[in-house]
């Protein structure tokens, strides 16, 4: 534990400095400190903020890639009293988060410029959220993971209520905050019980301690509370009630953030905690999580059918996707880990593409939110309509798109772990999900709307949609590179666990 270890946290340090810069820079200018409601901090200020944020993200990405050179061997990866691991798994997710965040900046740009809220604090909070996510995925210690998660959550609560003069946004922030803090408390109580029984918070040492223990109530209760808290964060079924309201009320780019980056960060820690720390007691928690996964898939996909608001529909659909990812976590196998990694990428890109399309249909403040807004889109914007079909197919898991690859791994892992019935439920629910995804397709192609939803596509939105389209199609047709990378990154975690178990 010396200053030398600091180099391992270089990306986090870069993004923290960037976040502070975004916070301080505008208020240090002459007269910049006064918050004005009209007369707008938007316009030029918002553009400068955007480019600053993008520059910071590029620097962070460079730092992540530079630090990936430090990933030497399995034993070398622990820093700061065994709290953070700079491993291939963490780097995979960090790069995914940075890419997502860059696209979110492009998505937010016009939306913020049209509003009268300051872009600087917005991007600063996004940077802090990114910092929290990066700490989370690097964490191999429950306290480190928890504090990273809290940094992410607190930034998300504020961002959900960022448009504070809009009732819906405030309501979303309120609901998210109250339920989110309760779930954090539950998570923390679970962690404390696990600490009480095993005497450590380091995931590896928890696994060591658990291998010598027999089942007892305190430990089971701790694992269940931990699982419940994490299920809230990924919005799995009995803990999903907040999702539609928050997704609907939050500013649309923030909804995109919550449903992509934030969610995949929660997937990552869920997979790491349960794969590394809790695998000795898998027979006890697998069944519970399997029921949660089944419930998520059923409730999410069935409830999505009846939604007319596309934000709510996607919220329910994201509940269903949390259920699919749980399949990979339940299986406690390398295949499951690959599935979680691949699916996170696939899901993030497809979902971001859909949000880009939703933001493109700006009719009024709550832009393009009804399914009816999509009517006749193929006439007004044929390319967008085509891209939308690809994204929806990917979410549904239909072969030429990347979604199929992700689901293939997850379902295969579930069958391999003896959860055939769960895989059947998942396949059935994927079929159900196609039903409501095709509602949007039908609206776009088969109905002639009155065309009230104006098409305003800026360069940023087009770029995001293009990137998402290319990624979704490329990984669908040539999944090789993504799968290889997932095998390296997921395999890293598996190898460490195997080495640790063999050593003992």
């Amino acid at each position: 534990m010396t200053w030398g270890d600091t180099i391992y946290l270089l990306p986090e340090i870069v993004i923290s400095i960037g976040a502070c810069l975004l916070l301080i820079a505008p208020v240090m200018r002459r007269g910049g400190g006064v918050v004005r409601a009209s007369g707008a901090p938007s316009g030029g200020g918002a553009r400068t903020a955007k480019w600053t944020m993008l520059a910071i993200l590029v620097l962070t990405a460079v730092a992540v890639i530079a630090s990936s050179g430090l990933v030497a061997d399995v034993a070398q990866t622990k820093t700061f009293a065994s709290m953070f691991a700079l491993d291939s798994f963490a780097i995979f997710f960090k790069l995914l988060f940075i890419a997502t965040m860059a696209m979110l900046v492009l998505l937010s740009d016009d939306y913020l410029a049209a509003s009268r809220y300051s872009a600087w604090e917005y991007y600063s909070l996004l940077s802090f959220a990114l910092c929290g996510m990066m700490f989370m995925v690097s964490g191999v210690h429950l306290a480190a993971i928890y504090i990273g998660l809290e940094l992410l959550s607190l930034s998300s609560y504020i961002l959900a209520g960022y448009f504070k003069n809009e009732l819906k946004s405030t309501e979303a922030a309120m609901k998210y905050f109250v339920l989110g803090t309760v779930s954090s408390a539950i998570l923390l109580y679970g962690i404390s019980l696990i600490y009480g029984v095993t005497g450590t918070l380091n995931l590896m040492r928890i696994a060591d301690a658990m291998s010598t223990l027999v089942t007892n109530d305190a430990l089971m209760f701790g694992i269940m509370l931990l699982g419940a808290g994490l299920c809230f964060k990924i919005a799995a079924a009995p803990f999903h009630v907040w999702t539609p309201d928050v997704y609907e009320g939050a500013p649309t780019p923030i909804t995109a953030f919550l449903s992509t980056a934030s969610k995949s960060a929660a997937f990552a820690i869920f997979a790491r905690i349960f794969y590394v720390g809790m695998h000795h007691f898998r027979l006890d928690w697998q069944v519970v999580l399997a029921i949660i996964a089944a419930l998520s898939m059923i409730i999410g996909n069935l409830a999505a059918i009846t939604q007319d608001n596309i934000k709510r529909m996607l919220a329910y659909s994201s509940i269903g996707h949390a259920g699919y990812v749980l399949l990979g976590i339940i299986s406690v196998s390398e295949m499951g880990l690959y599935g979680v990694l691949v699916y996170s990428v696939v899901y993030v890109f497809a979902t971001l593409g859909i949000w880009a399309t939703v933001l493109m249909l700006s009719k009024h403040e709550y832009a393009g939110e009804q399914v009816s807004d999509f009517e006749g889109l193929h006439r007004r914007a044929p390319l967008w309509a085509f891209a939308m079909i690809i994204f929806l197919l990917s979410l549904g898991g239909i072969p030429p798109t990347a979604g199929f690859i992700g689901k293939y791994f997850l379902f295969y892992a579930a069958v391999g772990a003896g959860f055939g019935w769960l895989a059947i439920v998942a396949v059935l629910m994927s079929a159900v999900s196609m039903f409501f995804y095709f509602r949007i397709v039908m609206a776009m192609y088969l109905r002639d709307g009155d065309g009230q939803a104006e098409v305003v596509s800026s360069g940023g939105l087009k770029l995001v949609a293009a990137i998402c389209l290319v990624v979704t199609l490329l990984f669908g047709i040539l999944p090789g590179p993504l799968v290889e990378q997932a095998k390296i990154s997921g395999g890293w975690v598996a190898k460490r666990v195997a080495a640790n178990n063999a050593q003992r």
Binding site: W3, L23, I24, M28, G33, V34, V35
Partner: protein, 119 residues
């Protein structure tokens, strides 16, 4: 063990007993008269003009919130000071410097946003 806290316990006990004794003496020895003037705020004053609990300006809340945040940060300084006395090192110094720097960033932000101004 924790016997050094015994005086505090005794103090609490004495305070509770004294309070209870005085209140019950009052009740036992005093005369019980119930009439409306007993319930008025001042028996020989003007009646209330308004509610005593009015809505407080939301700014009080904001300032209270900032106070708590700085309060918590101050609480972190105490254990640091205790160990810094016994093991002086640049490492410890640096980490607290970083902590205070981040605190300073927040302070500058709050200051420049005029959150401390009343208007």
């Amino acid at each position: 063990m924790t016997y050094s806290y015994l005086p505090i316990l005794i103090l609490l006990f004495v305070a509770a007993v004294l309070g209870a004794v005085f209140l019950s003496l009052n009740w036992i020895l005093g005369r019980h008269q119930r009439n409306p003037s007993k319930l008025s705020p001042y028996e020989s004053g003007v009646p209330l003009l308004d509610e005593n609990r009015k809505r407080v300006n939301v700014r009080f809340y904001q300032i209270a919130m900032l106070f708590i945040l700085f309060d918590i940060e101050a609480a972190f300084l105490y254990p640091w000071a205790v160990i810094y006395r016994s093991m002086i090192s640049w490492y410890l110094f640096g980490e607290m410097l970083l902590f205070i720097l981040l605190l300073g960033v927040g302070y500058v932000y709050v200051w420049k946003k005029r959150a401390f101004d009343w208007k």
